[in-house]
């Protein structure tokens, strides 16, 4: 194989991997949108908040330490030195569930029957609240998140691919981050278990019923509000997984919440209502972005195409399929 071809394969591989990361975030969006018709802009901040909380529990930070210290002149920092990952993750999950409950109580309950766009803007507000509260609770410095997922380049793949290049060429092998491989594995597990959950459990059936038709679901005795809390909790859980993955890769900091913006084109490409759409959309965007960065960006000698390429790509698809690749057909009645 020629070096060019190997480079191409490497780019595609890395694109697929980063696509999985986008899909992880997009998945949370789709779940909430299907069940409650809310386009949750705060999903990215959910991920940030979960990651911040996880680090906070792990390292035993005192919540609101800065605020308390500034108000009362005290000097609190940490409760304890460290906590096992396992326990910290469970505690974070509990926090996310509590958060879902609070959101349902304080926000969603009061916005029932409002127009979708109003709900969307409310979640933008929610994103700001969570971001502010997250920073107040745990401080805004960049934090290192380590839950024991290996990261760094894969030695094995590098060695294995070095031999594929023709003799005498300067080829150093492919670079694939092990973390991304793990992320893909976890994403697959997550999607499969979600699918099993929604197909084979009673709650899962209720979930699908609500997603299909709110009123019909209500009339057969499904509690909408319980389902909503559940859905928000599940997407809080997915946000936590995404937060762990992204946080391990680039540190826990404000920019983590911007992954929501990365997931949006994935969503409109795949369609808001389709879980497979979120996965395939994520993969397409991941690959498209990486290829554009290297081949289009390289050709025009210009960088950072990643910032917008995904959006334009999604836009082009939308012009042909306004509901996204896998979305339900939009039927409008007067």
């Amino acid at each position: 194989m020629s070096v060019d071809l190997l480079n191409f394969i490497e780019t595609v591989l890395n694109g697929l991997m980063s696509g999985v990361m986008y899909s992880l975030v997009a998945l949370g969006f789709v779940l909430i949108f299907k069940a409650s018709g809310v386009f949750n802009f705060a999903q990215g901040v959910f991920a940030l908040f979960a990651a911040l909380t996880l680090v906070g529990y792990q390292t035993g930070q005192v919540p609101f330490a800065h605020l308390i210290n500034e108000l009362f002149g005290t000097n609190y920092h940490h409760w304890y030195a460290s906590m096992p990952n396992f326990l910290a993750i469970i505690l974070t999950m509990i926090t996310m569930i509590a958060l879902a409950w609070v959101i349902e109580r304080l926000v969603l309950k009061h916005l029932i029957n409002q127009e979708p766009i109003i709900l969307f803007m409310a979640t933008i507000g929610l994103a700001f609240v969570l971001e502010g509260v997250g920073d107040l609770m745990w401080g805004s410095n960049v934090k290192v998140l380590d839950v024991g997922i290996p990261s760094g380049g894969s030695e094995w793949l590098e060695q294995a691919t070095i031999g594929l290049a023709p003799e005498g060429s300067d080829y150093y092998g492919m670079y694939v981050d092990v973390l991304n491989v793990w992320a893909s594995v976890i994403a697959v597990v997550l999607v499969v278990s979600l699918a099993l959950f929604s197909q084979y459990t009673k709650t899962g059936r209720a979930l699908r019923a609500v997603a299909d038709d709110h009123q019909a679901a209500l009339s057969v005795g499904i509690s909408l509000r319980t389902i909503w809390v559940l859905v928000w909790a599940i997407s809080g859980f997915i946000a936590m997984v995404a937060g762990i993955m992204w946080g391990t890769e680039s540190g826990v900091q404000f920019s983590l919440s911007l992954i929501a913006l990365k997931a949006l084109p994935v969503l409109i490409l795949g369609g808001f209502t389709s879980i497979p759409g979120a996965i395939i959309g994520g993969l397409m965007i991941g690959v498209g972005e990486k290829l554009a960065e290297i081949y289009i960006g390289g050709f025009f000698q210009i960088g950072a195409l990643e910032n917008w390429f995904a959006y334009v790509m999604a836009l082009v698809f939308l012009l042909f399929r306004p509901q996204g690749l896998f979305g339900e057909k939009i039927i409008e009645r007067v």
């Binding site: 409002q114 803007m121 933008i124 971001e131 107040l136 917008w308």
Partner: protein, 359 residues
């Protein structure tokens, strides 16, 4: 008793359809205008100019622009920052290419250029709607900011990537650059805001505005009764982008003087705050655009005063509080008063009608 309309008879269709049909509104508005034009310029100092009045005027324009698109025509846009950047960078390019051109003309031309860009990015709105469109406008936001950041032609190959305004005169008085006196910059913005504000108000009251609202309320029904969606949506994008472009031009030329695109026109620092303004002020209300802009401009100053100066929090903590309070306000407004401050004002007017009598 204060706001009663008893005894004010309208004898012609024209007087019934005036912008301010009530005498009280007329008096209030004229006093405001008199104060703004004749009193404020004599007392304005640099702090009031830089911290409150000029940003208020500039953001009012941006809010009117977004309100036309989102509030009146129902097309949610998250690309405000990108369009403001177009206004700012066209001002810069025209300014440096034609040094003799009057600054007022430059600003208006920048608005026209932004309107053209707005039409291009408005094209997808014919195929896609709602959330899909909101996300599509993000494409405009990210693409435009990237373009101005990465293509050196736009910032004349300066090493820092910054664009800096040079001094321009208006009637012999500098209105841009470091030497511009506060009253000059203030009056320059005020004149533009008043003129464009009236233009917007009249557009909304006429055929084009009514067709925007028809599209907003239900586009299929509007199409059936003969409102052309193509023309209507694109005109909303054009007019809205014109206003946003002018405000971007002013933001760069009059207010900041030097701008770095990724910092000033980011989605977080520009697009969302303007969206907040029209939500808190009132979607689909001219008055709301002004109230919202005033609210968002003064809120950080007030919060900072309370939290940093009175309570003694550090600036960073206060900033975090501010972010949460913004979000909180947005949610509270959406829940309690989806029509925003403008609606609160009309409720007050209603109360004042019979105050102090209970009936």
């Amino acid at each position: 008793m204060i706001y009663k309309e008893t005894g004010q008879y309208k004898s012609s269709y024209k007087s019934d359809h005036a912008i301010f049909p009530l005498i009280q509104d007329k008096v209030l508005f004229s006093t405001l205008m008199l104060i703004a034009f004749l009193v404020v310029p004599f007392f304005i100092n640099s702090y009031w100019e830089k911290a409150i009045l000029v940003p208020f005027l500039i953001f009012s324009l941006a809010a009117i622009g977004l309100n036309i698109l989102t509030g009146y025509c129902g097309q949610v846009s998250l690309g405000t920052g990108g369009f403001m950047a177009v206004g700012a960078f066209s001002t810069y390019k025209i300014m440096t290419s034609f040094p003799d051109l009057n600054i007022m003309i430059i600003v208006l031309i920048s608005g026209v250029i932004t309107a053209a860009v707005g039409i291009v990015f408005g094209l997808p709105s014919l195929r896609i709607k709602g959330f899909y469109l909101a996300v599509a406008t993000l494409a405009a936001q990210f693409f435009l900011v990237w373009l101005f950041n990465k293509v050196p032609w736009f910032y004349n190959y300066s090493a820092t990537g910054q664009i800096t305004v040079s001094e321009r005169l208006m009637f012999g008085i500098p209105v841009t650059g470091a030497t511009a006196p506060p009253y000059a910059t203030y009056l320059f913005c005020l004149v533009l805001v008043v003129l464009l504000g009236f233009a917007a108000k009249n557009m909304i009251r006429s055929k084009i505005g009514r067709s925007w609202m028809a599209i907003r309320d239900m586009d299929i029904a509007a199409e059936i009764i003969g409102v052309p969606p193509l023309k209507t949506k694109l005109s909303a994008f054009a007019v809205s982008s014109f206003f946003i472009g002018v405000s971007g031009a002013l933001y760069f030329a009059i207010f900041l003087g030097a701008i770095e695109v990724t910092e000033s026109f980011d989605i977080m620092t520009m697009s969302f705050p303007v969206l907040f303004m029209i939500i808190i002020g009132g979607l689909g209300s001219m008055l709301g655009s002004f109230l919202g802009a005033g609210f968002i401009v003064t809120l950080p100053i007030g919060l900072k005063f309370i939290m940093v100066d009175l309570i003694g929090l550090s600036a960073v903590t206060a900033k975090h509080f501010e972010i949460s309070i913004w979000g909180l306000l947005m949610i509270v407004f959406l829940i309690v008063e989806p029509h925003g401050l403008a609606r609160l004002w009309s409720i007050t007017k209603e109360k004042l009608r019979r105050w102090p009598f209970p009936y």
